[in-house]
């Protein structure tokens, strides 16, 4: 019903991305500020959408936070990323804000063509629990923080002078941008998303690879470390709250269900990354682990729901 509001939000996010890209080219402080301002505006519009949808859900008498099916969870992921980014926006370098707005726009655009049901439906018995809110909010804030860690990691590799690093960075950013362009093209031409996606991925990654030589190497650890620590603590709390919920729903804290297992693997990757931060390992090792970690996040979040069947499979319809 309010999906227009969401569309407006995603277009404002895209606008902020464009302004921030411009600010990279013209190198003017005012563009920087404008881009960040537009980002914050987009977040508030998206938050308005979320509030409206929550109100509508409650009005229908279903009484839950709209975070329970695939469509809602994607929106909630982008909302969490928008929130984190907005909170730290003053201190954030513009490339991080740019990456965040690309991640959000790409997700929302891809979501608009994915064809998930936007209907507000009542909750199935398994999801009717007070633990739902705590589990989902902590997990998704963690995912959002890891997305920031991922883009900072990719940026470090992308601006590196080493070819393998640069290719990895280009491919990582290429994946994000190609997701966005693929969604755009597929929604207009109705062509096969998989083929278009691969073509875009290859083309954009190679273009990025060439373009990347104009950037100076960026080797600061700040934007790798801070989101990682925050995300790790929240993922830990997310796994624990999920575990307690599982105890009440399925009879045990841990069942080695695919989603549980992959969240555990994700946790281990970030755990290793965290200890490497403490041991002051080189920024490149942290960056590579950031990329691997986020691949694990995506498998946990998407792969398990859509490919591997398990106790969490209700998220797929």
């Amino acid at each position: 019903m309010y999906s227009n509001v969401l569309s407006i939000a995603s277009f404002i996010y895209i606008a902020s991305a464009f302004v921030l890209i411009l600010s990279f080219i013209v190198k003017k402080k005012s563009f920087d500020v404008a881009g960040k301002g537009i980002f914050v505006l987009a977040f508030f519009v998206e938050f308005l959408y979320f509030t409206l949808r929550t109100i509508e859900t409650y009005q229908k008498g279903y009484n839950y936070l709209p975070v329970t099916n695939a469509f809602e969870s994607f929106v909630f992921f982008t909302l969490c990323l928008g929130l984190l980014q907005t909170i730290v926006i003053k201190k954030t370098p513009s490339f991080v804000v740019l990456s965040s707005s690309i991640v959000i726009s790409a997700t929302l655009l891809a979501l608009s063509i994915a064809g998930f049901s936007e209907h507000i439906e009542p909750l199935i018995p398994a999801l009717k629990s007070n633990w739902l809110v705590a589990h989902v909010i902590t997990s998704f804030l963690a995912y959002a923080a890891f997305a920031m860690n991922f883009t900072a990691s990719a940026f470090v590799l992308y601006t590196s002078r080493n070819y393998i690093d640069k290719i990895t960075g280009s491919v990582a950013f290429g994946a994000l941008l190609s997701l966005m362009f693929t969604a755009f093209i597929v929604s207009i031409t109705h062509s096969k998303p998989f083929v278009v996606g691969i073509v875009f991925w290859v083309v954009i990654s190679s273009m990025l690879f060439v373009l990347g030589f104009i950037l100076k190497p960026y080797e600061k650890k700040d934007w790798i470390e801070k989101p990682l620590v925050f995300g790790f603590v929240l993922l830990t709390i997310g796994i624990i709250t999920g575990s307690i919920w599982a105890k009440y729903a399925w009879g045990g804290y841990w069942s080695w269900d695919p989603k549980e297992t992959w969240s555990f693997i994700t946790w281990i990757v970030y755990l290793i990354n965290l200890h490497f931060i403490i041991k002051r390992k080189s920024v490149k090792i942290l960056a590579y682990l950031g990329i691997i970690g986020f691949v694990c996040v995506i498998i946990t979040y998407l792969g398990v729901n859509f490919i591997l069947p398990g106790l969490h499979s209700y998220g797929s319809n």
């Binding site: 018995p125 620590v229 830990t236 045990g252 804290y253 297992t261 992959w262 555990f264």
Partner: protein, 365 residues
């Protein structure tokens, strides 16, 4: 002798090292990942990797990790303690006053700093508790591991299948059967739906616990288990009981009782009930009807009727009988695990505080 000691020291150093932790965690992560796809990949399944989580060597990896974590944590204690002894000053406090030291202490205390003093050195700490976060988290993980161990030795987990109006005390676990000293009687299992929707709103079993002539009533729904004598019971699933489920068909004005999977002949026609389900919260039946001139099949909704050749059939009522499936668990380590959870959560929030340590050398001018 000296050589043996060197070797032992080396082994100990390796056992407590972060390197070993990373190796073990990577192996655990790798085999966990393989385990999630092994079900679909034949050669992995042949290796038994689909159940890798319950294998001896996976357990060995976890045990090694616990030892590693314990030793690593213990080996950190001296460093932490040293941090709370004033040494190697990084600030100098110069004052002409006679009681310069007391003056500085009062000043630092007014800033709500934690103070340690030794000779002419004073160390001041902001958020000293931050340095104990790592112990809290590591200890929490060890407590969780201990709780899991307790549960795996003295606990069990399985399922119980109880048809309606029957009782059972047998639990089917992953590789065994367990008999409870009391029985669970399933009086009724119901599925409720949201109004005009195909989405279930509640699965509920009501019944009694039968223990030495005692009859204790219980009700359980998804997410709301009940506990009896330390054993937890959860509404996990359900099945239609084909032996007890039937529908009433009105065939040319006469009522016919048709059980599931039991074809009957009536008026030169045969009827077969293949399935019973719900659509928009109304019962629907998958019905096969055979007549001399041919056969027909399809889903029929409660209350609907159909004309097939010379016969008229109406679906007048349905009686489903369900087998409720309860998850059953005894988890004596549960409260230990919760303690570990609390330790991990509280300690990890400490990470957000910024620790600061300054050591002042007091000098009189």
């Amino acid at each position: 002798m000296v050589q043996i000691k060197i070797i032992i020291d080396k082994i100990y150093d390796f056992l407590k090292s972060l390197t070993l932790a990373v190796i073990l965690l990577s192996l655990i992560a790798f085999f966990s990942a393989v385990g999630t796809i092994a079900d679909n990949v034949k050669f992995l399944k042949d290796l038994g990797l689909d159940n890798v989580y319950y294998s001896k060597w996976f357990l060995l990896l976890i045990v090694l990790f616990v030892i590693n974590l314990l030793l690593c944590t213990l080996s950190m204690i001296p460093t932490t303690l040293a941090l709370f002894r004033p040494s190697a000053p990084n600030k100098t406090y110069k004052s002409k006053k006679e009681n310069a030291k007391e003056h500085l202490i009062a000043l630092l205390k007014s800033k709500k700093l934690y103070i340690q003093e030794k000779d002419n050195l004073i160390s001041a700490y902001r958020y000293p508790i931050r340095k104990f976060a790592v112990y809290g988290i590591h200890l929490g993980i060890l407590i969780i591991a201990f709780g899991a161990l307790v549960s795996s030795i003295w606990g069990f987990r399985g399922i119980m299948e109880i048809p309606q109006n029957q009782s059972s005390s047998t639990i089917i676990t992953r590789n065994n059967y367990i008999s409870l000293p009391f029985a669970i009687y399933n009086k009724n299992f119901t599925v409720s739906f949201y109004e005009n929707k195909d989405i279930p709103s509640e699965y509920k079993t009501t019944g009694y616990i039968l223990d030495n002539n005692q009859k204790i009533p219980f009700t359980t729904t998804v997410n709301h288990p009940f506990v009896y004598k330390g054993v937890w019971f959860y509404q996990a699933s359900y099945q239609l009981n084909p032996m007890k489920s039937y529908i009433m068909l009105n065939v040319n004005g006469k009522d016919v009782k048709l059980y599931m999977h039991k074809p009957i002949t009536y008026d030169n026609a045969w009827f077969y009930l293949a399935n019973l389900s719900y659509y928009k919260s109304k019962p629907i039946a998958l019905l096969y009807v055979g007549l001399p001139q041919g056969s027909a099949s399809g889903w029929i909704k409660l209350g609907d009727s159909a004309q097939l050749g010379s016969i008229n059939i109406a679906f007048s009522s349905a009686k489903e009988s369900y087998i409720t499936v309860l998850s059953v668990a005894k988890d004596p380590g549960s409260s230990i695990v919760v303690l570990g959870f609390v330790a991990v959560i509280l300690s990890s929030t400490l990470i957000f505080f910024r620790f600061r340590r300054r050591v002042y050398k007091v000098e009189k001018i």
